[in-house]
Structures are given as structure tokens and as C-alpha cells.
């Protein structure tokens, strides 16, 4: 059975998404909505990591339930860089690139939840299925958010 592998892979992709949400939040501290909402949405990913670590135990997979901590000096650096360049139009393209990368990461996590839910049904692990049913919709909302922000912010960035 390879469900342990699926849990491990999902944990890896969710960790990467959580880290990137915080990184983008700090890198675009002057884009207030992106900054605040990305921080809020990282909490969903953190909760998913805790739940996945618990679920992993049943499959002999040992995973950390802690939220990944971004490096403090780097966070400060990103925020300062954001504030220093906040008066220039060029970081707009960086923002689009960052949101695009986040979107792809969230899409990967979404697919991993899909696989986990399929596997859980095949082995009749109702707890694991319930976990996927609870968490996957939040990943889809993260995915829709990155898509929406790209759609809303891109016209101004591209036209100016």
C-alpha cells in the first residue's frame, strides 16, 4: 500500500505552499490585501499540516505537525525591500509572477488531496477520507483566491 507515500507527498507540497504564502505576503507587504489575506490563508495550510502529521502515524509515516517558520532575517529583508520599492510600478510584474507560482503550488496541493481521497476510499479509511473532505475545499479556495487576484490586478499592471 502506498497511502503513506501519498500522505508524505501531500505534506511536502502543503509545506511548500504554506512557506510560499508567507514569503509572498512579506515580499508584497505594501500590497495590503495580498499581505493580509496570504497570512490568513497560510493558517489553513498550517492546520492541514498538523492533521496530516496525525494521519501519517496510522501509516507509519513520521511528519512534523509544526508550521514551517520562515527565516526571520529574510522576512525582514523582504518586507523592507517591498516598502522601498513600493513607489515603483515594476514590482507589479514580480507580484504577478509570485501569484502565478502560488497558484500552481495550490493546484499541486489540490491534486494531492484528490489522490489521497481516492486512496482513502479504496482502503476504506473513513477518517482519512473525512480529513480530505474537510481540507480539500480550503485548498480550492486558496486556488480561487490566487486566480482572482491575478485576474483583478493584472489589467492595471499590464496596461501601465
Amino acid at each position: 500500500m502506498k497511502l503513506g507515500l501519498a500522505i508524505r507527498e501531500l505534506h511536502r507540497s502543503e509545506t511548500a505552499l504554506a512557506k510560499d504564502l508567507l514569503k509572498v505576503a512579506d515580499r508584497h507587504a505594501v500590497e495590503h490585501e495580498v499581505h493580509h489575506v496570504a497570512h490568513d490563508l497560510a493558517r489553513w495550510s498550517h492546520a492541514h499540516l498538523r492533521d496530516l502529521a496525525d494521519a501519517g502515524r496510522h501509516y507509519d509515516v513520521h511528519l512534523s505537525g509544526d508550521a514551517p517558520v520562515p527565516s526571520a532575517p529574510l522576512t525582514a529583508l523582504r518586507t523592507t525591500a517591498s516598502e522601498l520599492t513600493g513607489r515603483r510600478p515594476e514590482p507589479g510584474l514580480v507580484l504577478l509572477a509570485d501569484l502565478r507560482r502560488l497558484h500552481r503550488k495550490a493546484a499541486g496541493v489540490s491534486l494531492d488531496w484528490e489522490l489521497l481521497a481516492q486512496g482513502a476510499q479504496a482502503v476504506k479509511d473513513t477518517d482519512l477520507l473525512a480529513l480530505a473532505t474537510r481540507c480539500h475545499p480550503q485548498t480550492l479556495r486558496q486556488l480561487k483566491w490566487t486566480n482572482a487576484m491575478l485576474k483583478i490586478l493584472s489589467p492595471q499592471i499590464l496596461a501601465s
Binding site: 505594501v30 500590497e31 513600493g86 507589479g92 486558496q142 480561487k144 483566491w145 482572482a148
Partner: protein, 781 residues
Amino acid sequence: MAGRDGIDQPWGTRTPYGPGGEWPVRVDRHLADGLAPADVDRWVRSAAVLHSNGDGLDIAVKDGEIVGVRGRADDRVNRGRLDPKDLFGWQANASADRLTTPLIRRDGELVEASWDEAMDRIVEHSKELLAEQGPSAIGFYTSGQLFAEEYYTLATIARAGLGTNHLDGNTRLCTATAAAALKESFGSDGQPASYTDVDHADVIALFGHNVAETQAVLWSRILDRLAGPNPPEILCVDPRDTPVARAATLHLAPLPGTNLALMNGLLHLIIADDRVDHEYVERCTVGYEDLKAMVAGYPPERVAGICGLTEAEIRAAARLLGSAGRLLCTVLQGFYQSHQAAAAAVQVNNLNLVRGMLGKPGAGVLQMNGQPTAQNTRECGADGDLTGFRNWANDGHVAELARLWNVEVSRIPHYGPPTHLMQLLRYAENGTLRFLWVSATNPAVSLPELRRIRSILAQERLFLVVQDAFRTETAELADVVLPAAIWGEKTGTFTNADRTVHLSEKAVEPPGQARPDLDILLDYARRMDFRDQDGAPLPPWHDAESAFEAWKRASAGRPCDYTGLSYEKLRATSGVQWPCTGEHPDGTERLYTDGEFFAQPDHCESYGRDLITGAPVEPGEYRAMNPDGKAMLKAAEYLEPHESPDETFPFALITGRTIYHFHTRTKTARAPELQAAAPESWVEVSDGDAKRLGLHEGDRAAITTPRGEVRARVRVGGIREGVLFIPFHYGYFDTDDPAGHEGGRAANELTMTDWDPVSKQPLFKTAAARIRGLDALGGAR
């Protein structure tokens, strides 16, 4: 009928009445010193513009000057009563410091100019930017104080003339969450209830709504019910000890930023105690199971901990709401300007929906407005929606507008939601928005984090036009200032928070060269030579009444249908509630009386947004979720506020208003009685905190947040421990630093830049702060 002391007795004498009775008439009046009614040459029909209540009044004119006001006994809203601001605020019209000529910036100074010079500069700049970057370089920030005709004209110019998506109103600060919450629950804006529901309710619940100070006449109505037989019970949710709190059966003072947790907790108990109207929920709503699942996680013991309340308080509130036979709920800034604004306001809608308390006398929701004409900003499409509550994501609606304006569909931007104010400012900050036209509002005092706002507005690369009656803090930063006529000096209509439309007629001539906003906008359109696709001038109307007739056509068939109204009818009736059509010629008292909503996928104003992420719901998703256009029960989890008190900044700071001032005091500071009633800013500190910190009534104190510091006099008491309150009205125009470059007074020096992701309303009630007393010389003690 008599004059009354509107300062010491802001709500006047009681005229008690019982449930189902008619609110008795009491006519308030104030005339300039020494004048009697017999001295008045004529009375001119109007309504109140210094709050959102929409009180009908007449303006007294003598020798071509405004000399007073009188409430209209036949008006459905106020039955003759007037708010203190109405009694005295008219004096601002005749202020010696009105703007009477255009100003342009020359060598760094604002100097007098002719209308031709000023308008030519604006037009030249517009054309250059259109050629260089296109319409995305140009944006408008308007008001909640113009008239419907003016908003509709502005919307037409921005969307169809220039083709820019950047148009918003300062309604963003006061009422965006009301509109958003109504759209989330009912698919469209439109106030479900009516002020007459106060006459019938047996429980009135006010959520973050200090009605005694924001809508004084509506509070008089409630006080008269409280003084009569079988009075209603009152639930007040507010961290301050307001007049409403003191009159309430039950007062809950939750910690700022926790409204959603409280509402989830109240819904938890209503459902757990099965106070649910299952027949109504089944017939009229979608989403009940999801709501139930969400609030299951908010038992009173958890909520008490989050909100800083006792379990008993939460249970008592739920019992009051759950046992009401006719429940009227109202909501305002305590929710709208706080963390998770829209999600919390939506839970109030949910409360009424699950209890089946909608569309019948005494039962309903009033998602209140802050500004007098905010409703028109929303319905005319001068804020984050398209004209006539049309849906930017519905191609059919955009095509309707294109036909109405006779332009190509592609001229009207609809590739995303119209740009909201805070985003517009961000575009100005990063230099992609290069032209901002501000009308009748004062962002240099009213927006959060003022140091940032000033630094954006003062940029050389931003061309700033300010259209106002006074030289405001914002005007001080402008490149061109246009002098505008105001209420009493022009004709037009406006609509209050319970959908009541009034006509306000011109009583006197504007001072100097000041012109009505409508005339200024039409002048701009002609000079820009905007044309429709047949080459006719756009917009085609030329005065207030022709603009109103055009607006009626734009509203036809939409929830805010004005087609049954005319200036003639509004001259005959004091206040008519929309929708007003051939079928309902006298207007409509309550919406949704038959359990039918404006939420059908092809009709709705909005497909809604995710309550946490703010991402717009896609059309197909909406259609699948709500194919029959029912009311929608939506819910969200509580999130911690984005700034919370800590060791360095141990207080939660909230800002708000006083009954004696409106907005940034542009008018009310120029009415001597109002200015004398509240001449200076202050900070409220609880008894316990004051004692601990050695602060006394009248002490000077410095209040600091990570954004800045302001100084104010201490008022002890009237607020829960751990919370500070500062009124937001006070800016700098009446100091020796009129643009406010030095800061130090306005509450918004302290607030943080954050907005609700759903309504995009900036938050003014989530900041961590500290306070210290100052000695007589202003030094630290």
C-alpha cells in the same frame, strides 16, 4: 411647534406610542436669532444631508439667504423631527471661507484662476494621459453627499466616456459592508426593512450601531416606543457605553475585532435551542446545513473566551433574539469598520433568515448607511458596482448599459470588479494611476494611516483635482480646486438608508463662482467631447431633471426601480420608498414580503464573494449553488485580527463619531452651536485603566500606535477596559498646519491600512495602541 435646544436635548421631548401605533408628529424648527416664522419669505422643500436618516425638512429663506430649517410633519421618516446637525448645520452654507473661485497650483501655491483656465488644465491633462496610457491612468473618488443625478452623470462619464474602471465613493468607508452583506445574502443591494418596523418590533437588536448619535431621529422613534405601552426590548452590542447601551435590556461589550465569533456563537445557540423557522428556511433559503456545521464550532464557552464576555451574557442575548416575535436588527460601523466586517454583517442577515423574520411588520434587517446619499452612490454605480445594481460579471447586464448609453460594449470596463478606493490609492502610490479627481470628500482626514495617504496625494506625479465647497485638508494638496455649490444651492434627489427618495430644491444662489457638481461634470464631458456611437454628446442630458429622467430609465426593471417617480410626484409627497413603479406608484415599504428575492442568477447584482478570501464567486458556481434565486445563508470562521494588543501596545483602539459632527467637520465645525458642543478631539479610557495609569478627566494624553501619535484630552469612563476610543472627525483645516503635514491630531494618524476582503471597507477599529499622560507643557509625565 417651537424651537428647541438641540444641543442639550439632542433627541427632544418624548411623544410615546404603543406597538402598531402611528408615530406622533413633533415638528422641530430653528431660525436665525431674532427671526420668527412670519419673517420667512419662503420655505423650500429638502431633506437632511448631515447623516443617513433622510429626515424631510424645509429650508427657510429670507432676502436670498438661508435663515433656518423646519422638519416636515408629513414626512414618513421623521414626522417633523430634526437631528441637532440639521437644526444648526445650514449655517455652513454662508460661511465666509467658502470657496468662490477655482484655484490652480502655480509655483507650488494655489492661486485664483478662471473656470476656463482650471477646466482647460484638467482636460489637457486627461487627454495627454488617455493618449499615453489609456483610461487606466485616470480615477475618481466621490462622495456620499452628492445627489443621485450627479452620481449617475459621473458613472456615465467614467464608464462610458473615459472607459475607466477606477471610480469609487467614500461610501467605501461607511456603507460598503452594508451593500456587500446584502449582496451576499440576498443577491442584490436593497434594504429589506423600513423605519416603520420600529413601530411594530418587540425586540430591536443593534449590532455596532450607536443609533442615538448616528441617526438621532430614528433613536427618537425608538425612545418614543420605549416610553409607550408594551415597549420593545433592546439588545445593544458595542464596546462603548453609549446612550443605546444605557437604554438597553441587555448590553454586550465584546472585545474589538471579535464580532464574527460573537455572531457565530449567537447562531450556535439559536440553532441548538431550535429557535429556527424551518418552514421559512426550507422554502426561502439555501445553505442551512453549511451554516449549522460552521456555527457548531462556536459553543458559548469558546465564544466567551474570544470576545471577553461571560457565557451568561451570550446565552441571555441568544434567548432574547430567539424568543422575539417581531425582531428588528440593525447594523453599522461597529461591525462595518471592524475585522471580518462582511462576514459578521452577513451573520445578522442569517439570524433574521433562520428566524423567518423578514418582510413583515416589525421584522427585518436594516444594514445601515453612514452618509446621507450613500444609497445613491451605490445604486447609480459610482462606487464598486455598475449602474442600477447591475452585475459586472453578467455580460447581459453590461450589454444593457451599453444600449442605454449607446456605446460599444467594449467601452465599459467589466473585466473585473470596479476598482475600490484602497486599491485605487495603491495604484496612485505605485505610479500607475496618475490622475485622481476627488469630489465632496476629504481623504486626507478620513482614511487610515494618514501619513501614507498624505504622501500619496502630495506626489508631484499625481494630478489631483479636488471639487469641494471648502478648502479642506485634501484641497491643500490639490493641483486644481473647483468650487462647488452644496445642498440648498442646487436641485436634485437623494435616498436614505430605508430607500426613501426625497427631492431637495434649490433655495439660494451659490456663492461667487461656485457651481453645482452636476454642471461641473457636464462641463467636463462637453470639453472632453465625449460622444456615443451615433456622434451625439454623451451624456445627453443637460440639467438635474433631465438627468433624473435618464437615471429612471437606467433603473427600470432593476431592484432600485425609480420609474414611478418624478420631480412632480416628489413635490407632492414627502419621501417615497423605491422600488416605485407603475404597479407600485406609492413605493414599497418592505422588500421580500413574499419570500422572493432579487437573487436569480440572471437578475442578481452580484455572484458574491468568498467570505474569507474575498475572491469573486464564478457565475457557474453561483448558478449551481442558488439556481432558484433564494436567500443565501453563508458563514465563515473567526480569524484573529491582523493587529492585536501586546506588551508594547496594550490597548485596542477604535475610532468613531459624535452626534454633533459629520465626517471631517467640513460643515459642522462652521456651525457655531455644533462646534461649541464638541470643539476638540478626546480619548475615552475606562475607569479601571484610568486609575491604573493615573489619568484624570481633562488630562492631556498622547496615544501611540506603530503608525504615529496623536494628543487628546482624556474622558474617563464609557468604554470597556482595555479599549480606547477617539472620534475621527478632527483634522487640521482649523489649525496653523492646514494640510496636516505635521500630524498629531487626527485619529487616523493611528489606524492601520487593512480592509475587509469582501466589502473592501477599510478597518478603523483594529489597532493596538498605548496611552500616556502629558504634563501641562505637553511633556511625558
